[in-house]
């Protein structure tokens, strides 16, 4: 029986396939999370995996994130390869002790004698009407901690390849998955493959401005670039993919080419991805190539509102990206 080499899968299906292939390939891999077993996960990512791999490898945890995360860190230290799912990324606040003070530091504090091959998955972002405690984009928090790797795959292809790379990785990798991406479809090879952590990708080549975006904002930036191309503005869109470690070379090369930079991200604007990328460029050789102020488009300085109109207004939307980039290119900023 020959499976087609490349099929169209949703982002959620691509995750499930990656998890299954990882468990097939390595008996040390197992899954933990709230309602990921019989219920199939809050976003149906694990689906029927419990029936295929059993309750020992697809493990429902109590609603006690700190304790469960401690179990995952301990399992990783003992030689397992746990993949831990938070039901919502917001709930990771309960588990920060295990993530920040334990998982991130143990390898360094024990002189490299052990590592923590832990993968944690964070359903993140707004747009589902889930209000302030279920809609945040907290990736910058964890990207601030040395010892963690933080990735934000934006396509079904990337999530499968990067999740497999994360499970291979000897160190803790935090995977932020935008909830609105789960249903997004894209071509995904059936075979296991890896997409390297720490490498950005140019999704659209252009000469007029470099737009660095993460997660769902990559798609909004691409839509914006399409609209702007009709106005003679040729935008380059870079999908950052990894927030830590940042692929500075790709961004510097792009800004040296275009002379302009916009950062688009859903996390709160202040002290977020855009602050880091802007400062990095200002410190780099690309500074001398800037021909306009740097633009940051990030989330509002407020909790995500429940009201759907306000919820939409609180994070960058395609038309806002179009308007601000147009202002910059036409010399109004």
């Amino acid at each position: 029986m020959n499976a087609p080499a490349i099929r169209e899968l949703s982002y959620a299906q691509a995750i499930q396939e990656a998890l299954a292939q990882a468990m097939d390939a390595d008996p040390r891999v197992f899954l933990m999370g709230e309602d990921i077993g019989v219920y199939g996960g809050a976003f149906q990512v694990t689906g029927d995996l419990v029936h295929r791999y059993g309750e020992d490898r697809v493990m429902d945890t109590p609603i006690a994130e700190l304790g469960a995360a401690g179990v995952a860190v301990g399992a990783a230290l003992a030689g397992c390869r746990p993949v831990f799912e938070f039901q919502f990324s917001d709930f990771s606040a309960l588990a920060l002790e295990q993530i920040v003070n334990q998982a991130a530091k143990i390898r360094f504090m024990l002189g490299g004698k052990v590592s923590v091959p832990l993968v944690m998955r964070f359903p993140a972002g707004s747009g589902t009407g889930a209000a302030a405690q279920h809609s945040q984009s907290l990736e910058a928090w964890l990207a601030h901690v040395p010892g963690l790797k933080v990735i934000q795959p934006s396509t079904p292809y990337d999530i499968k390849g990067m999740l497999l790379a994360a499970i291979d990785d000897p160190d803790p990798v935090m995977v932020f998955e935008h909830k609105l991406l789960y249903k997004m479809k894209g071509d995904v090879p059936a075979e296991p493959y890896r997409v390297p952590i720490g490498k950005a990708i140019v999704r659209r080549a252009g000469t007029g401005i470099s737009i660095v975006a993460t997660s769902i904002m990559v798609h909004r930036a691409l839509e914006a670039a399409e609209i702007l191309s009709g106005e003679g503005i040729d935008a380059e869109v870079i999908d950052l993919r990894t927030l830590r470690p940042i692929d500075t070379a790709t961004i510097i090369a792009s800004v040296k080419k275009t002379g302009r930079l916009a950062c688009v991200y859903e996390g709160v604007k202040t002290l977020g991805m855009g602050a880091e990328i802007s400062a990095m460029i200002a410190e780099s050789e690309a500074f001398d190539y800037l021909d306009a102020p740097i633009l940051r488009l990030g989330g509002a300085e407020a909790p995500i509102p429940y009201n759907p109109v306000l919820e939409k207004a609180s994070v960058p939307q395609t038309e806002v990206i179009v308007a601000r980039v147009r202002d910059l290119l036409q010399g109004r900023i």
Partner: protein, 396 residues
């Protein structure tokens, strides 16, 4: 450690100086106290001496560069200190060598039009301009608030050089504005636009004065006096008699000065200086003459010290030697008066019912009306005239 040669502060409100001449070059050996360069401030040229013995190196400011006060412009290297290899304290301040906070190296700007009008430009525009040796100030920016963008620079570079295309005006030359000319311009515009001037004129009979001067100058061993020396002395004594005119306007109040310090306008190549003779009222004519001569010589050599031209409570400007009969001068703020002196000319005068030949010198007093009202100015001019016309009163 190499010794830093910094641009010194030689004037109270000096923020930067222009290097007008280097007397040494990299590699020259210098002794402490030797003059190594000259700087031009608003008013004068100052010599700067070597702060130590050794070999000059790393001269970083060219002639014409405007350098902020306190910035190192060169270094003096001691015996065995390698000019090339040594790390200079201002180049890489590290925790180890930073025993005292040193002024950070500051980009040395070419002398353009002052620092107030630094052009707004993007980093890329600056980079392209730098690569082509282009002055950004010469460009118009198309960005927000006049920001110069790369496109503006490229457009400028792609259009043929203006002198090749069409010289702006073939029958005129553009003379660069030096520090002195700029200072003159700024101070006179300030004066003429903010000080309410009015003018009083008098034709003084100088027959007796000229005769007296001739007699004095004929005496062996006495100092030679000019008419202007008498004028300076007479104005000082007149201001003693009308002390309310020896004053300056300030927002805090009118400052009435105790001594009469007379600024004397001295024309020099390319401009003028106004060195000050202090406490003129108390000095004999011979001393006034000697001081004016010394100050004028120093001014012409551009060697005045800031203390030579600071202050002054009134000014005498004399164009008589050019044959000018009368003129009105612009007040030198914060002074309240200036006396413009014309030539002594022989002319018909009415004496009783007769017309006879007399000698007259037209003097015009400009007054700052905020400090000196018409009647006070008139009293001052009358007092001056009376002294000039009875010159023996200037001697005793």
């Amino acid at each position: 450690m190499p010794i830093e040669v910094i641009l010194p502060k030689v004037d109270m409100d000096m923020a930067a100086g222009t290097i007008s001449r280097w007397l040494v070059k990299d590699g020259d050996r210098v002794k402490k106290g030797a003059t190594i360069f000259e700087i031009e401030t608003d008013k004068s040229t100052m010599e700067v001496e070597a702060p130590g013995d050794g070999t000059i190196g790393r001269i970083s400011a060219e002639v014409g560069a405007v350098v902020p006060v306190g910035v190192a412009v060169a270094f003096i290297f001691g015996e065995g200190e390698d000019v090339g290899a040594i790390r200079l304290p201002t180049e890489a301040p590290t925790a180890k060598t930073q025993d005292a906070p040193k002024p950070q190296p500051v980009a040395i700007m070419p002398a353009t039009n002052g620092d107030s009008s630094k052009p707004r430009a993007t980093p890329l525009a600056r980079r392209i301009a730098r690569a082509h040796g282009l002055e950004l100030a010469a460009l118009a920016g198309s960005g927000p608030r006049g920001r110069i963008r790369a496109e503006d620079v490229q457009q400028h570079l792609s259009t043929p050089a203006p002198e090749a295309k069409a010289p702006p005006a073939a029958d005129s030359d553009l003379i660069p504005i030096d520090t002195m000319r700029r200072t003159i311009a700024e101070r006179l515009v300030f004066s003429k636009t903010t000080v309410p001037h009015f003018y009083l004129g008098a034709a003084c009979d100088v027959e007796r004065l000229l005769k007296l001067r001739q007699e004095i100058n004929a005496v062996e061993g006495l100092p030679k006096l000019s008419v202007n020396d008498f004028v300076v002395k007479a104005l000082a004594l007149a201001l003693r008699q009308v002390p309310e005119a020896n004053a300056s306007w300030s927002d805090a109040g009118i400052q009435r000065h105790r001594s009469v310090d007379v600024s004397v306008a001295v024309a020099v190549e390319g401009g003028l200086f106004t060195p000050v003779v202090r406490a003129v009222e108390a000095k004999p004519l011979g001393q006034i003459a000697a001081e004016i001569k010394t100050l004028a010589d120093r001014a012409k050599a551009r060697k005045l010290l800031p203390s030579d031209y600071a202050g002054g409570t009134t000014t005498v400007s004399n164009l008589g030697m050019y044959g000018v009969e009368s003129f009105a001068a612009i007040i030198n703020p914060p002074q309240a008066t200036i006396l413009a002196v014309g030539a002594a000319t022989r002319q018909p005068v009415v004496a009783g019912d007769e017309i006879r030949i007399g000698t007259r010198m037209e003097c015009t007093l400009s007054c700052d009306h905020r400090v000196v009202d018409g009647a006070v100015g008139a009293q001052l001019l009358a007092a001056f005239r009376s002294l000039i016309e009875q010159p023996l009163r200037l001697l005793v």
